[in-house]
C-alpha cells in the first residue's frame, strides 16, 4: 500500500500520523499482504444480500458494487466497479454503483483503512486499486461457488460461473447469484485471494464502457457537494482577508445582522503567517437561513483588515526577484558528470529563459462542505480528493476523535488537485461547532479564485552544450520558483526543490553531463498540487527548448527528439511513476502523432505544426498540433492529435475522455490563464478575468488515441496535460517564427506580430 507515498500531500496535516495510518493497515494484516481480507469483509460484514463491504446482490440479480474512491470527473466510480464486476462474473448492465464513505478503524497501532486506502491524487486512483478491486470480485465469485457447492453437495472444484450464475455440470445444476448470495454471506472469508481471471477472457474490462452515472448527471439528479440538503441545515459564507496573511482588526456586523435571514456573524481564526495551513485565511463568517441571505449579509459587513508581512508582495517583485537570484549560483540539487567543463568544451551553447505563471485550479464547483459538529461526533459531506485529510482537518478543529468523524465523499465538480486539501472542511467544522447547527459552507467563485493553493510560478533557464552535429551533450536547468512545499510541515529548506524538479525526467538519462539548480523565491501566495504538478512547467520548458535547439542548428525538431530518445532503451526512474521509464514508448507516440498530422507536409506561411511528448507519473503522452496565425497575430488551433500510452487501458472510453480533457486543460491554461498579485492581494476575481477556454477554440478536428502497451495499467488523469502547451507553442513558432517563452500566450502574439 504505497500509493500515497508519491501522491501529492495536503499541507497542514500531520505526516507522522499519516505514515502511521498507512502502517496501521499493514499491521492489521491487510493490504500489504496482497490480500485485503480486512477490506473485503468478514462474517460480521457479510449478511443478507451482502458479501463483504463491496458486493451486494439482490434476489432480482441486480448487483450493487461499492466504490471506495472519490469521484472528481475521472470516472473511477465506473472504472473500479468494472474490475469487481469482471472478476465476480456478472453482466455489466445489471450493475449499479454505491458510493462508500471514508472507512478508518482504530486498531492497537493507530488507524487502519477499513475499505482499502482512499484518496485520489497523482493519477493513482486506478493503479492503487487494480489488484485490490479484482480480488474483491474474485473473492465474491469464489464464495458464491462455495455456497453452491455446499447447497448441491458437490466439490467446489466442479463449480464454475457464467455471468450471474454458478453452474455445476457434473451435478447438472445451475443457480443464480441472487439465490445463492444469502448462503454465501454466511461462509467464512477465504484466507487468500483466488487466482484472477486471465486477461484475454475479459468481457467488461478493456472495453469502452459508458459512465455509470451519466443518466443521473444529464437529468440533474446527480448529487454534488454543493447540492447537499440536510435537516435543519443553515448556510454559511465567509468573508476572507483580501490581503495574503492579513488578519481581522475589527468588524461591524450591525448591517449584516439586519439582513433578513442572517442568524449569526463571527470571526474565523486563520493561521499565523508562515505556519502550516488548516484554513487558508482569517475571515468573518455569516450564517443564515439561505445561501443568498448569507451572501447579502456578507456584503453588508464592514470589516477592517489588518495588513500583513505580505502586504507589499507583487507578481512584479516575484518575477524580477527570480531574475535577480539567478545571476548568482543556486542550490545544485542534481549533478551528473561535469556540466561546466562539458559546456566549455561544447561546439555550441544554446541558452534560453522561460516563465511559467501561477495558476488557479478553478474547479467549476466552488469549494463547499456540509458539517455537523455535535458534542462527540462530526458528520461531513464534502467534495474532496482526500477524505482522510477531511477527517484529520475535522479532528484538528474540533478535538473530536477521528473514530467519531463520519466523512461522506460527495461527487466533486472537478478536482485538479485543489481538493487534496481540506481547508474548507476545517472552516465548515469551525462554523458548525461555533453555532451548534448543521451548516453548509458555500464558497463563491470569487472566494475560490482568491483562496487557492495555486500552481507555483517559476523562471526556468535552460542551457545545452552541443557537439559538432548539434546533438546535446550537456544540459542544465536552473529554476527559481516558489516551491509548493511552502508552509508544509516537516520540509527542510534544502528540500523545497523536490516538489519542482524531478531529477529523473527526460533528458537526464540521455546525457553524461546534466545539472539541476534551484532558487527558492518567497511570496505569500499559497501553493499546492495542480494537475500533473511540476510536469506542466518542466515539460513546457524542456519541450520548447528542444525545438529551439533544433531550429538554431538546422535540425528537425522531431528528428532531434527521436535521436535523443533513441540513445537508451530504458532508464531507472526513482520518482513517482517509476521504477523505470522507457523512452521507446515516447518515440512510438511521437511517430504516431506526427504521421497522423502529416508532420512532413509543407505548409504555407502562417500555418504550422508542433509536437511534444512527456512521461508523467508512469504514463506516456504526445501531442501534435496544427495552427494558423493571421498576420495580425490571431491564433486558430486547426487540428489536435493526442495519444496516450497508459499501459493497459481498463476503460478506453474513460481514458479517451481524460486525454481530451487534459489536452484542453493544458491549452486553456497556456492560452490565457494567470494568477497575479498586487499589494499582497490576488488580482483575479472570476471567469471574466480568468478566462477558461470555450468550445470555440477547440477544433472539430481533434483525435485522442489510446494506445495500449502491456498488461499493466498506469494512471491517466494527468498524463495528457504536460505536452499540450509546448506542442501548441512549437506550432506557433513553426507558423510564425515567434517563440513563446512566457505563459500564458495571452496577447503576446498580437504584440509580437504587430512589430
Amino acid at each position: 500500500m504505497n500509493r500515497f507515498s508519491a501522491a501529492p500531500e495536503e499541507p497542514g496535516v500531520d505526516y507522522a500520523r499519516r505514515r502511521f495510518l498507512i502502517t496501521g493497515s499493514t499491521l492489521s494484516g491487510g493490504l500489504l499482504l496482497g490480500f485485503p481480507v480486512f477490506a473485503i469483509g468478514n462474517p460480521e460484514t457479510s449478511q443478507g444480500s451482502r458479501i463483504g463491504f463491496f458486493i451486494e446482490i439482490l434476489p432480482s440479480g441486480e448487483v450493487i458494487i461499492g466504490n471506495n474512491q472519490p469521484e472528481i470527473g475521472q470516472g473511477l466510480r465506473t472504472t473500479l466497479p468494472m474490475l469487481v464486476a469482471e472478476e465476480l462474473d456478472v453482466e455489466w448492465d445489471k450493475v449499479s454503483i454505491r458510493s462508500m464513505p471514508l472507512g478508518i478503524v482504530k486498531t492497537a497501532d493507530g488507524f487502519a483503512w477499513k475499505y482499502g486506502g482512499q484518496g485520489v491524487g497523482g493519477s493513482t486512483g486506478l493503479t492503487g486499486n487494480w489488484n485490490f478491486m479484482r480480488e474483491v470480485g474474485a473473492t465474491g465469485r469464489l464464495m458464491l461457488m462455495q455456497a453452491a457447492a455446499k447447497a448441491w453437495n458437490v466439490p467446489v472444484e466442479q463449480c464454475s460461473t457464467v455471468p450471474g450464475e454458478v453452474i455445476c455440470k457434473s451435478a447438472g445444476r445451475r443457480g443464480a447469484y441472487g439465490e445463492l448470495v444469502k448462503l454465501a454471506a454466511t461462509l467464512p472469508m477465504p484466507d487468500a485471494a483466488p487466482p484472477l481471471k486471465p486477461m484475454d477472457e475479459y468481457r467488461i474490462v478493456g472495453k469502452p464502457q459508458r459512465n455509470k452515472e451519466v443518466r443521473d448527471i444529464i437529468t440533474g439528479q446527480a448529487r454534488f457537494g454543493m447540492d447537499t440538503n440536510m435537516p435543519d441545515m443553515r448556510y454559511a459564507v465567509i468573508e476572507r482577508s483580501p490581503v495574503l496573511n492579513g488578519t481581522v482588526e475589527s468588524f461591524d456586523e450591525t448591517a449584516a445582522r439586519a439582513i433578513a435571514g442572517v442568524l449569526d456573524v463571527f470571526a474565523i481564526e486563520g493561521p499565523e503567517p508562515g505556519a502550516p495551513y488548516i484554513v487558508l485565511a482569517h475571515g468573518v463568517a455569516v450564517v443564515a437561513t439561505s445561501t443568498w441571505a448569507a451572501i447579502k449579509g456578507r456584503r453588508a459587513l464592514k470589516v477592517r483588515w489588518k495588513e500583513s508581512p505580505n502586504s507589499n508582495d507583487s507578481s512584479e517583485k516575484f518575477w524580477s526577484g527570480n531574475r535577480q537570484m539567478m545571476t548568482q549560483q543556486g542550490q545544485v540539487v542534481f549533478d551528473q558528470g561535469d556540466f561546466p567543463a562539458a559546456l566549455d568544451a561544447a561546439d555550441r551553447v544554446v541558452r534560453h529563459t522561460y516563465e511559467v505563471p501561477f495558476v488557479s485550479h478553478a474547479p467549476l464547483e466552488p469549494q463547499n462542505c456540509y458539517a455537523f459538529v455535535e458534542k462527540n461526533r462530526v458528520h461531513i459531506i464534502a467534495p474532496t480528493q482526500m477524505p482522510s485529510g477531511a477527517s484529520r482537518a475535522a479532528a484538528a478543529v474540533t478535538g473530536i476523535d477521528r473514530e467519531n468523524i463520519h466523512v461522506e465523499m460527495a461527487r466533486s465538480g472537478g478536482g485538479f488537485g485543489r481538493r487534496l486539501t481540506n481547508d474548507y472542511v476545517a472552516e465548515a467544522c469551525m462554523v458548525s461547532q461555533k453555532t451548534g447547527w448543521p451548516v453548509k459552507l458555500v464558497w463563491t467563485r470569487e472566494d475560490d479564485m482568491k483562496n487557492d493553493f495555486y500552481r507555483p510560478g517559476g523562471t526556468h533557464e535552460l542551457a545545452a552544450g552541443l557537439d559538432d552535429k548539434g546533438r546535446p551533450v550537456a544540459w542544465s536547468q536552473r529554476l527559481a520558483s516558489g516551491s509548493k512545499h511552502y508552509r508544509r510541515p516537516g520540509v527542510k529548506d534544502e528540500d523545497l526543490w523536490q516538489a519542482e524538479l524531478y531529477p529523473d525526467d527526460f533528458p537526464k538519462a540521455m546525457l553524461d553531463h546534466y545539472r539541476l539548480e534551484y532558487f527558492h523565491n518567497t511570496i505569500g501566495i499559497p501553493r499546492g498540487s495542480w494537475r500533473a504538478p511540476a510536469h506542466t512547467a518542466n515539460a513546457f520548458v524542456v519541450q520548447s527548448f528542444l525545438d529551439e535547439i533544433a531550429h538554431e542548428t538546422g535540425q528537425d525538431p522531431l528528428a532531434l527528439r527521436l535521436e535523443m530518445l533513441g540513445r537508451i532503451e530504458q532508464q531507472e526512474y526513482s520518482g513517482h511513476g517509476g521504477p523505470v521509464m522507457t523512452p521507446g514508448r515516447l518515440t512510438r507516440l511521437l511517430k504516431f502523432v506526427a504521421k497522423r498530422i502529416e508532420y512532413d507536409k509543407p505548409r504555407p506561411k502562417g500555418r504550422g505544426v508542433g509536437i511534444a511528448a512527456h512521461f508523467t507519473f508512469g504514463g506516456y503522452a504526445a501531442h501534435a498540433i496544427e495552427v494558423t496565425v493571421s498576420p495580425e497575430g490571431g491564433l486558430t488551433i486547426d487540428r489536435i492529435v493526442a495519444a496516450i500510452d497508459c499501459g493497459y487501458a481498463v476503460n478506453p472510453n474513460a481514458v479517451e475522455a481524460q486525454l481530451q480533457g487534459a489536452t484542453i486543460d493544458g491549452l486553456s491554461t497556456a492560452l490565457g490563464l494567470e494568477i497575479t498579485v498586487r499589494d499582497g492581494r490576488i488580482e483575479q476575481n472570476n471567469f471574466n478575468d480568468y478566462p477558461l477556454m470555450k468550445i470555440k477554440r477547440v477544433p472539430a478536428l481533434f483525435e485522442a488515441h489510446v494506445m495500449n502497451y502491456d498488461d499493466k495499467p498506469t494512471g491517466v488523469g494527468e498524463m495528457g496535460l504536460p505536452p499540450a502547451a509546448p506542442a501548441l507553442t512549437n506550432a506557433i513558432f513553426n507558423a510564425t517564427g515567434v517563440r513563446i517563452r512566457r505563459l500564458p500566450i495571452a496577447r503576446q502574439l498580437r504584440e509580437k506580430m504587430d512589430v
Binding site: N211, T219, G261, P366, Q660, G661, I664, F687, L692
Partner: protein, 157 residues
C-alpha cells in the same frame, strides 16, 4: 408575492424579491440540477429556460419572473422519464466528466438547436459559450450534432 411556474408547477415565492432564480430553484424548490458556478452569468452552469429561452438563473432576480414559466433540467425529460433528444445525445456520446456544467450545457443546447436546427461548427463556436472545466468540448460538439440529426429525423417521422 411572486407567482410563476417551474416545470409546469405553480410556484408562489414570498421571500426577498432580489433573490436570484438559481437560489430559489436550488434551496426553496430543492431543484439542484442548475448549478452555482460563478454567480455573474459567465459560466452558464446555472442555465435554465424562461419562457422557452436559455437564461442564466444566477443573475436573474426572482422578481422578474412574475407570470413566467421556467424549465429546469429536471423538467426537460418528457413525463420526467423520456429523455429529450439532447439528453439522449449526451448519453450516447458519454459527454460528462465531473458533470457539474452539463445541465447548463444541455439547457443551452436545447435553446440553440431551436434556432439552429442544422448547426455548423461555426454556429456552435459562436453561440455555445458555456464553460466546461473538464474540457468535454470535443464530445459536446459531437453530441450537439448528434442531437440535431436525431431531432431532424424525429420531425421527418
Amino acid at each position: 408575492m411572486i407567482s410563476f411556474r417551474v416545470n409546469e408547477q405553480a410556484v408562489e415565492y414570498t421571500d426577498s424579491p432580489d433573490t436570484p432564480l438559481l437560489w430559489v430553484l436550488r434551496e426553496h424548490l430543492k431543484l439542484t440540477g442548475a448549478k452555482f458556478g460563478c454567480g455573474i452569468g459567465q459560466c452558464g452552469a446555472c442555465t435554465v429556460h424562461v419562457d422557452g429561452k436559455a437564461r442564466k438563473s444566477c443573475t436573474m432576480p426572482v422578481s422578474k419572473l412574475e407570470g413566467r414559466s421556467v424549465t429546469t433540467i429536471e423538467g426537460l425529460a418528457a413525463g420526467g422519464f423520456q429523455l429529450h433528444p439532447v439528453q439522449q445525445a449526451w448519453l450516447e456520446e458519454d459527454v460528462p466528466q465531473c458533470g457539474y456544467c452539463q445541465a447548463g450545457q444541455i439547457m443551452a443546447t436545447v435553446d440553440f438547436l431551436q434556432k439552429h436546427p442544422e448547426p455548423s461548427d461555426e454556429d456552435i463556436n459562436k453561440k455555445i459559450t458555456n464553460l466546461c472545466r473538464c474540457g468535454t468540448y470535443v464530445r459536446i460538439r459531437k453530441a450537439i450534432h448528434r442531437a440535431a440529426r436525431s431531432m431532424a429525423e424525429g420531425k421527418v417521422k
